[in-house]
Structures are given as C-alpha cells and as structure tokens.
C-alpha cells in the first residue's frame, strides 16, 4: 500500500480535515489505489519536457489605480458566521501556538 494511516493522518492535519478513526483504513486504501494508478506516469517518456505551469498571458500588468469594486464593510461581513462592529470574530488566537 503506497500510503499508510500515519501518512493519511499527517495530510489530514495539513488539510485541516478530520477523518473518523473507523474510516482511516478505507481512506488509506482508496488513496493508495489512486496513487498506484498515478504511477503509470512513470511509463511516459518525459525527456525534454519542462513542467507546464502557466497559461500564457500577454496582458499588461494592472495600473496602480483604485477602481469601483471595493465592498462596503456591510457587504464584506454580510455572509460571515460571526461579526461585531464589522470585525470577523473567531475563537481566541493564542499568540505562540500555530492554529
């Protein structure tokens, strides 16, 4: 199996997802089967192939001018689960801990 439960736990952590303990085996198996399939890429001759990373664009860069698309504080916070005086509220952020 290319990916074990410890690995799944690590990437779940990085992704801020919680996999129920009972599902870990199934998730590891499913991910492994995809990764095994993905290994077919190793059969391709990639000589002289630089990674494609960009869609080409010939557009000029944006000029440093304001436009009319700013939101008001009302509309910026309208969809928020919790706000107060136009601040977004979250649980306490403890300074020397990574959330």
């Amino acid at each position: 199996m290319s990916i074990d439960k410890a690995e799944v736990a690590r990437i779940a952590e990085l992704s801020r997802l919680e996999i129920p303990a009972g599902d870990m085996d199934k998730v590891a198996a499913q991910l492994s089967s995809v990764l095994d399939f993905v290994a077919t890429l190793n059969q391709l001759d990639l000589e002289g192939c630089a990674p494609t990373a960009f869609a080409p664009s010939d557009a000029p860069l944006r000029a440093d001018e304001r436009d009319g698309r700013r939101l008001t504080p009302e509309s910026a916070t309208a969809a928020a689960p919790e706000t107060e005086a136009y601040f977004f509220l979250v649980p306490p952020i403890v300074e020397n801990v990574n959330p």
């Binding site: 990916i3 499913q30 192939c49 557009a59 979250v90």
Partner: protein
C-alpha cells in the same frame, strides 16, 4: 401550429424578443410552466431559483442583444448576485456572492435572463452529479441514469427544455461528458477565452466555463457573447477572439484526425458506431479523414488527478468558517473551527481530493507527483500540437460509455475517474473541445462524439458540429434550416 416558446432555439427566441413578438418574461417562464412543471421534480436540474428573481432579471433584460430574453440556467459554482452560490456544498449553504462572475455580466449584457442555478457535483468534483449535497440530478432520457457530471444540472435542463442554453464548467470534461450523456452540444473553449473571475476555482489551470445548447448555432452565439479578455482574470487571453460567425459555412477542405487506436477496446459499440457515422458524414460534407495513432488518455487521467487535486487542495483552503459559509458549532479554538467546519461542510469526494492534492504537493513528494504530472502535461500538449499539424481537428469519443446507472460507479473512485479518459487531455493542453450529439440508441439513450482542435479553433469545431447536425448534407448547412431536436419522452 407554432411550437411553444420553450422548444425554440436561443436564436429563434432572441429574434422573437428583438421584434417584440415575445417578452423576456414570457420567454423565461415558458420553461417553468411547460416542461419544468412536468420534468423538474423528477430530474432535479435546478438547485436555486425563485419567481421574483426571475421576474426581476427578465424585467431588466436588454431586448436588443444577441441573446435577448433568452433564459439561461447557470451552474451553481458561478457567482450570481440574485441567487445563492453554494457549489452544491454544505460548506457554502446560504452563501450569497456580492458580485456577478464576469461571464454572468456578459450574459446579461447580451440580453439573457439568468433564471437560476444548476445542480452539480460538489465543487465540480465528480462525473455523475451524484455528489451534490442537494441530491442527484437524473438523466431526462432515463431517470434511473446519471446525466453525467459535474455539470449535470445545466446539461439536463437544456435536454428536457427548461432553457435553450445553460452554462457549466469543465475542468476534466465536466461540460463535454454530461453533454454526451444528455444528448446536447457542450463546448469547452480554449483556456483563457472565457473569464474565470467569479467561477469558484477547482483546478485553476484547467477550469473553463462551458456552454450547453441543443443547436450548434446557439453555442456559437453564446461563445461570441462571452469570449474576450477580462482585466479581472490575469489568465484570460488578450489576443483577438476567434470569429465564429461562419459556423454554418461547412467543412469542405478541412481535415479531421481519426485516432482509432483510442477506441479499439473499452468503448461501447453504440459509441463506436456513432464515430463511424460521424466520420462518414464529415467526409460527405467535404472533409478529409486522416487516420493516425494518438497517445492513450490514461496518462492524462493520471496527470490530471495530481494537478487538479493539488490546485484544488489550495483553492479550497479558503473555506474555513471565518468569513462566509458554514461554521461548526463545535469550535472552541481556531484549530477546531477549521477542522470541524471543513469536515462537516465538505462531502466525501471533496475531502478525498483535497487529501490527494495535499499529498501530491507535500514535502518529499512534490517532485515525484506534482512536478512529474506537470511534465506529463507538457508531453501531452506536444502530442496534440504534433497531431494538429496533420489535421484541423480530431474526432474521438466523448466518453467510454453512454450514461451509466445511478449508484453504479459511486463506490469506485478510480472507475469514476477513468470515465474522463477522452475529455481530460483537452484541459491539460488548454485546447477547445465540442461534444456533438449523434442521436438516440434503440432504447432511447443519447449517443455523442467529441471534436478537439488546436487553440482558438472554435470556428472549425462549430463548423464541424453544424455539419454533423445536418448529417453531412451541405444543402442544409445554412442556419435558416433548424434541425429538429430529439426530445426525451416522459416514461
């Protein structure tokens, strides 16, 4: 006897509105009163709509535009100010975007009436529209089958006549495959031709908004209305937009590639038959068949499921319960806020792809997975470029099968992914693709073929699509001859 408004093509409908014979209001509601009343409960193509919003949109529609008064359903991952935008995910339940996507603004500027949001696989991740938090959409031609995905709702809505045109999005085939399953046209343009501003991102270097319609001409009209550079999307193309006004000018003198090795095995016989019939029709219309071998699509599927999931894992990080959308009630600290919100809000397939993508990018694996996939992508692009030195466009299947049954592939992610084997390459290479319906099987299920061309070859694809629409009969090419659509019958 004149046919009811809802059966008209967009071209005909817009003409009636421009001359004042019909109003945007009656055009918009005809779909709901007609087939909508009979079909929507079973098919479930629509996830957000309401009469007031439709009326308001119709009331402000420009009655002189190329799509004057034409009702359009848009996939639920396109931001609209007048309907919710949820990507059919719990994590965006109730979200109202404060802005319209650029393609939505352009639709409206052309006179179209946005009548609601179409069902989709959550965050566009799926090939069957079975992964929607609102429940699946069913294929109008057989309610026990899927309409395809991830843009199943928009495809089905056009097929049963709710609207003549709809918008979807295509990252690995999510417009072209449901178009094939639902027997309608589906265009994915060249990457960068339609703005992505306001399209909720899944695989940013692969995503494009796409068009569904029952008639090749309507695809052309909609393409012309939406295409063009957008200063709000740095990946949109600024070179001149291909001129598709000659979509009915035929295919005489064009060459079409015939990569038969791709369907020697694994493609249903009715679809192979559709390919043969289409090749003959194109030849009849004056095009030349150029047989050659082409790189099998499985490599593309492998590369795709690394690149798309990697980009998605990053694009979906913003859904965290802080600024919009769902927030878990169980959030005592920030870590719990993130983890519980996302685990509650994202469906299983989305979580699976986020994990895959995070893995492909993570330290120690980046070279072996993501980087290698991007190299494979370059190779695939070169293959297409080489092929298109020998032909103007390629004819190949849109999918390995006709619409499969609901539940058939849902437990086997890999099988589901491999159903994209013919569509994924175009997204990796950034080239345009058009699904062309080719009639119903003996049991009344849609068949289709796919046309792929080099960058900015939409004009050729539409000309070929039109030629196939009239069965290769050049005497009927002209747009004045509107082909009868093969409507699904209620069973």
């Amino acid at each position: 006897m004149t046919s009811p408004l809802w059966q008209h093509s967009a071209a005909k409908l817009a003409a009636l509105v421009r001359t004042g014979t019909a109003t945007p209001q009656t055009a918009a509601e005809s779909g709901w009163d007609g087939p909508g009343a009979a079909w929507e409960t079973d098919v479930h193509a629509v996830v957000h709509t309401d009469r007031e919003a439709r009326h308001a949109a119709a009331a402000s529609a420009d009655r002189g535009g190329p799509l004057a008064g034409v009702p359009v359903l848009v996939k639920d991952n396109l931001c609209t100010t007048d309907y919710p935008t949820t990507c059919c995910s719990r994590i965006l339940a109730g979200y109202h975007a404060p802005y319209d996507a650029t393609v939505i603004s352009r639709l409206r500027a052309a006179g179209a009436v946005v009548v609601g949001k179409g069902n989709m696989d959550e965050f566009a991740m799926g090939s069957s529209t079975e992964h929607s938090c609102y429940g699946p959409t069913r294929n109008p031609y057989d309610l026990a089958r899927v309409p395809g995905g991830s843009s199943g709702g928009p495809a089905a809505a056009v097929a049963y006549g709710l609207v003549p045109v709809s918008l979807g999005s295509d990252t690995g085939g999510s417009v072209r495959q449901p178009a094939a399953f639902c027997g309608v046209y589906g265009l994915k343009p060249t990457y960068g031709r339609f703005s992505r501003y306001g399209l909720v991102a899944f695989g940013s270097s692969l995503d494009q908004v796409g068009v569904f319609a029952r008639h090749a001409g309507d695809v052309a009209t909609t393409f012309a209305a939406l295409a063009g550079p957008d200063p709000f999307d740095a990946t949109s193309r600024t070179s001149p937009v291909p001129d598709v006004s000659g979509w009915d000018s035929g295919v005489k003198g064009l060459r079409f590639g015939w990569p038969a090795n791709l369907w020697q095995a694994g493609v249903e016989p009715v679809l192979v038959d559709a390919l043969e019939r289409s090749a003959v029709a194109l030849e009849r219309a004056g095009a030349t068949r150029v047989p050659f071998e082409f790189l099998p699509g499985e490599y593309g599927v492998a590369a795709y499921y690394l690149v798309a999931t990697a980009e998605a894992s990053s694009n979906l990080a913003r859904f965290d319960g802080v600024r919009y959308g769902h927030r878990s009630a169980d959030a005592d600290d920030v870590r719990a806020l993130y983890t519980h919100t996302r685990s509650e809000g994202f469906g299983v397939e989305v979580q699976r792809r986020i994990l895959l993508g995070t893995y492909a990018l993570s330290s120690g694996y980046y070279d072996a997975y993501y980087l290698k996939a991007q190299q494979a992508r370059t190779r695939i692009r070169h293959e297409y470029e080489a092929a298109f030195t020998r032909c103007d466009f390629m004819l190949l299947p849109a999918a390995p099968s006709i619409a499969f049954r609901l539940g058939e592939k849902i437990d086997d992610p890999l099988a589901m992914y491999l159903s994209d084997v013919f569509t994924i390459g175009a997204n990796l290479a950034g080239i345009p693709g058009l699904t062309v319906p080719t009639g119903l099987t003996a049991t009344g299920l849609p068949t289709a073929v796919q046309l792929l061309g080099p960058e900015d070859s939409e004009a050729h694809l539409l000309r070929a699509g039109r030629a196939l629409e009239v069965g290769g009969d050049v005497t009927r090419l002209s747009r004045d001859h509107e082909v009868e659509f093969a409507w699904p019958t209620k069973r």
